[in-house]
């Protein structure tokens, strides 16, 4: 033995391991302990590296190069698709080395494979020495998630920091080239420009581009409409002269101070020659500060029209981003977005109630789909309906017309606020979805009794209903009816299970992921269809079967899990898997929207980092566990 040679080989191995979790964060002494005990082995393609027949596992393997296919064998063999591929940095078999028993999986080299190998006794010693490694082995998904959460925080903290600090120079806040006009432009032309560009203020500049005045939206009413000024007058007669200006070197705090001191909402940014560089509005500064939940709620509750609510809706998004940056989990985040969207919707409903007389009618505003489940992401359209009781002595048709008129206005206002109209017309203004309790019950009964494909699809949307406004007891009655129906028609859940199992987690046999399911989005995975929905569908079936009234997927899994006597840590792992996929969707949608694209759910695994890919893989494995349970429970 010669130390310099050992050092060189150990250093090279350490360097490799440090590129992978959990070794990258392992205690240095533990890492040294590990590396000094590793040996390198080679397995040609198709070699069985570990099989149940080999008996008690004596060696732990860490893949260095190549891929290994892990396949469940033994009693669970009916589940023929329970395989997964391991890549460099991944260790196996964790469970059986820890428990000092034979492996339940077989591990086969998919191509030529080099593995670091550690004797089982050294593995156990390493578990004792290293809490990081111990956590990794005992709570695989939890340990990976902890790491990824930290990564996510770092990634977003920087963006948030850029956006949040009041020390930011104004040059970083200026969003676009300011719109300016000459003093001689007519008022008509100025207002047209503002309306077309949807801008709140316009700067009046001289021929050297030096600002001499500002004209804002609120001036239209006070200075033009009310005094009856002709639209053909030049703008300089009505503008606010000598606007507040700040040099480009000023920061956000200076701007806030100027606004507070002079009671203005806009500050102009000028260069050394006093030429216009940009406009900073109160709104721009508002988003710099950490927008608090309370402020947003207050501003929603105090909003008198859809314009103000639309602003509040965009604040919701900003706040959600800040929360994402602070490492708030997907579960809390989606619930939070839903809660604020609920508040927004309630406010829209409330504002419309002032214009519509629904006196004497018992009714409730229902939300369906993701909103019904409290699982909204950034890209969300409307899914709503109305349930009502037809009052005695009131003509049914007339009641229905009143409710539909009302619903149309609410739907249209919600659209203005930022919840696009539903393409599938799942909206309260659709006469099919503005129904009496009895009609809803008949609808549900028809779906449950005749579970044809359309009925199953409807079930997956409408059975996740939740009351947002109005008489909550109506929905409660509807839920009880639904449970009774499901209990009386066992075929329904079986068909739902079959339907749920028709989509499988996109885990590849050779590659990590199947990314060619959608020919229009090659290389990507639809994390809604092939991710979140797998969990949502299974949770719905378990909830209906166990009489769990909740609509939220996490709640359903927790509560149904207790009734089904599933171990708490197993439920926790499943929920972590679901939450991770939701978090990926949120992040992806946010980044897409930031680039001005509609937020879809197509995530490219090759653009994720290695840790994220592994968690995603593990999350899909959790989805598969859920599906296996469905398979066993419903024998499909």
């Amino acid at each position: 033995m010669s130390t310099s040679a050992v050092q060189m080989l150990v250093a090279a191995t350490t360097e490799f391991l440090c590129r992978h979790a959990p070794f990258d964060r392992m205690e240095p002494e533990a890492l040294t302990f590990l590396v000094e005990r590793l040996k390198l082995a080679y397995y040609p393609k198709d070699t069985q590296i570990v099989t149940p027949e080999m008996g008690v596992v004596t060696t732990f393997h860490i893949l260095q190069r190549g891929k290994v296919l892990a396949r469940q064998s033994g009693d669970l063999n009916v589940l023929d698709y329970s395989t997964m591929t391991l890549g460099p940095g991944e260790g196996f078999p964790i469970g059986s080395v820890t428990a000092q028993r034979a492996s339940t999986n077989s591990y086969v080299a998919l191509d030529d494979v080099f593995c670091y190998e550690l004797a089982a006794s050294d593995f156990l010693e390493l578990m004792r020495q290293s809490s990081v490694f111990n956590l990794h082995c005992t709570q695989y998904i939890v340990s990976l998630l902890n790491q990824s959460r930290q990564q996510l925080q770092v990634q977003f903290a920087q963006r948030a920091a850029e956006q949040q600090t009041m020390n930011s120079p104004l040059t970083t806040i200026i969003k676009s080239v300011p719109i300016s006009v000459s003093p001689e432009s007519t008022i008509r032309k100025v207002i047209e420009t503002m309306a077309n560009g949807n801008i709140g203020s316009i700067v009046v500049v001289d021929n050297e581009n030096r600002p001499i005045g500002i004209f804002t939206q609120s001036d239209v009413l006070k200075r033009i409409v009310l005094p009856g000024v002709s639209l053909e007058e030049p703008i300089f007669t009505v503008m606010s002269a000598t606007p507040q200006t700040l040099p480009v070197s000023a920061n956000a705090y200076d701007a806030a101070l100027a606004m507070a001191t002079y009671g203005v909402r806009h500050v102009l940014v000028v260069d050394e020659g006093d030429r216009l560089q940009g406009v900073i509005s109160e709104r721009d500064l508002f988003t710099l500060q950490r927008v608090g939940l309370r402020q947003i709620r207050q501003s929603i509750d105090g909003s008198a029209d859809t314009d103000m609510l639309r602003q509040a809706a965009s604040d919701v998004r900003q706040l959600a981003l800040n929360m994402l940056a602070q490492g708030v989990g997907a579960e809390q985040l989606t619930q939070f977005i839903s809660a604020l969207n609920d508040t927004l919707t309630r406010r829209v409903v409330q504002l419309n109630l002032d214009r519509h007389d629904l006196g004497g009618i018992e009714w409730a505003w229902l939300s369906f789909g993701s909103e019904g489940r409290d699982e909204q992401t950034f890209s969300t359209d409307q899914d709503n309906g109305i349930v009502y009781l037809c009052p005695d002595g009131m003509a049914h048709e007339q009641t229905r017309m009143r409710l539909l008129d009302f619903a149309r206005d609410v739907n249209s206002d919600l659209d203005k606020v930022g919840f696009p109209l539903c393409k599938g017309n799942i909206m309260a203004s659709n006469p099919e979805l503005c129904l009496t309790l009895e009609q809803w019950e008949q609808k549900f009964a028809a779906w449950v009794r005749t579970p044809e494909p359309m009925a199953l699809l409807n079930g997956s949307i409408f059975f996740d209903f939740r009351t947002l406004f109005g008489k909550f007891s109506l929905a409660h009655g509807l839920r009880q009816t639904l449970f009774d129906l499901v209990r009386g028609n066992p075929l329904f859940l079986r068909m739902m299970a079959e339907n749920a199992l028709s989509v499988q987690p996109p885990l590849g046999k050779i590659r990590d992921f199947i990314t060619d399911a959608d020919p229009e989005h090659p290389g990507s995975i639809d994390l809604k269809k092939f991710g979140a929905r797998l969990f949502i569908d299974a949770a719905r079936i378990f909830a209906l079967a166990q009489g769990v009234p909740n609509t939220n997927t996490v709640q359903r899994l927790k509560l149904a899990g207790v009734k089904m006597k599933v171990a708490t840590h197993e439920v926790a792992s499943i929920i972590e898997g679901f939450s991770f996929i939701q978090a990926m969707r949120l992040r992806h949608q946010h980044l897409e929207q930031e680039r001005g694209r509609p937020g879809d759910n197509f995530v490219r695994p090759d653009q994720l980092n290695e840790l994220e890919r592994r968690i995603l893989k593990e999350s899909f494995r959790q989805a598969r566990k859920l599906q296996q349970r469905l398979k066993l429970d419903y024998q499909v």
């Binding site: 050992v6 080989l9 040996k39 390198l40 080679y42 030529d112």
Partner: protein, 237 residues
């Protein structure tokens, strides 16, 4: 490949200045039985060796360092590895230093050549030696052993340069540069032209060869030697 020894004269042993401990260590090494090359791979301890020298002239250039990695039971154990830099009275040329990266002071501060070679003998024991383009390693080490320790060094060598194209002839059926095989098996070389790093990379090639050999009924060091011998004979004819 025996020409180099015949040049030196068959039974002539050089008189070299060695101390008592050194003579003893050499005597102990000489007592070792030759390796049983018919043992299966998994019972064999192979020593994969690579050398750096002051140039490519096997008669004039000096041996500067030896790196070696053992493969036991098909596994590479980092603790069973070896490196030594031989002290040089005359530092090799700059152009040469640029290749192996062993600088002038490292060469001057190397180990006493006799001690270094004895250390290598201890590490080697009676294991069969493996190298790539083995004649260079073979010649450089043998000459140093002769000049410094006054012994004839003729252990069993296996040259992967000849073995690999035979058992992987569907891939490459000729003698090629080491990097070609490393690329083919995507084996990373930590630091090319560093004796230990090269030996480590070649040791991984040996692992590949052992696994392939097991499928081709080449189950022992002797079978590798046989493959090499017959291939050399075929090619020379």
């Amino acid at each position: 490949m025996r020409w180099i020894f015949s040049l030196l004269g068959d039974e002539v042993q050089r008189e070299v200045p060695l101390n008592e401990a050194q003579r003893h260590a050499i005597a102990e090494w000489k007592k070792l039985p030759p390796p049983d090359t018919n043992q299966p791979h998994r019972l064999t301890r192979y020593v994969v060796a690579d050398v750096e020298a002051s140039g490519l002239d096997m008669e004039k250039d000096k041996l500067i360092s030896i790196g070696a990695v053992a493969v036991v039971n098909g596994l590479i154990d980092f603790n069973d590895s070896f490196e030594v830099v031989l002290r040089q009275d005359e530092v090799s040329a700059n152009s040469n230093i640029l290749i192996h990266g062993i600088g002038g002071s490292a060469q001057r501060n190397g180990m006493d050549p006799a001690e270094a070679l004895i250390a290598f003998l201890r590490f080697l024991g009676n294991s069969p030696l493996v190298a790539y383009h083995a004649f260079f390693e073979q010649a450089m080490i043998a000459r140093a052993m002769d000049e410094t320790l006054g012994i004839k060094f003729e252990p069993a060598w296996i040259d992967l340069d000849w073995v690999l194209p035979d058992i992987f002839r569907e891939v490459i059926d000729e003698q090629v540069d080491l990097d070609v095989w490393l690329n083919f098996f995507s084996i990373e070389n930590i630091q090319r032209h560093h004796a230990v790093s090269d030996a480590y990379a070649i040791a991984q090639l040996l692992q590949v060869a052992i696994a392939r050999g097991a499928q081709r009924n080449a189950l022992s060091p002797a079978s590798f030697m046989q493959i090499e011998k017959s291939r050399r004979w075929m090619r020379s004819g």
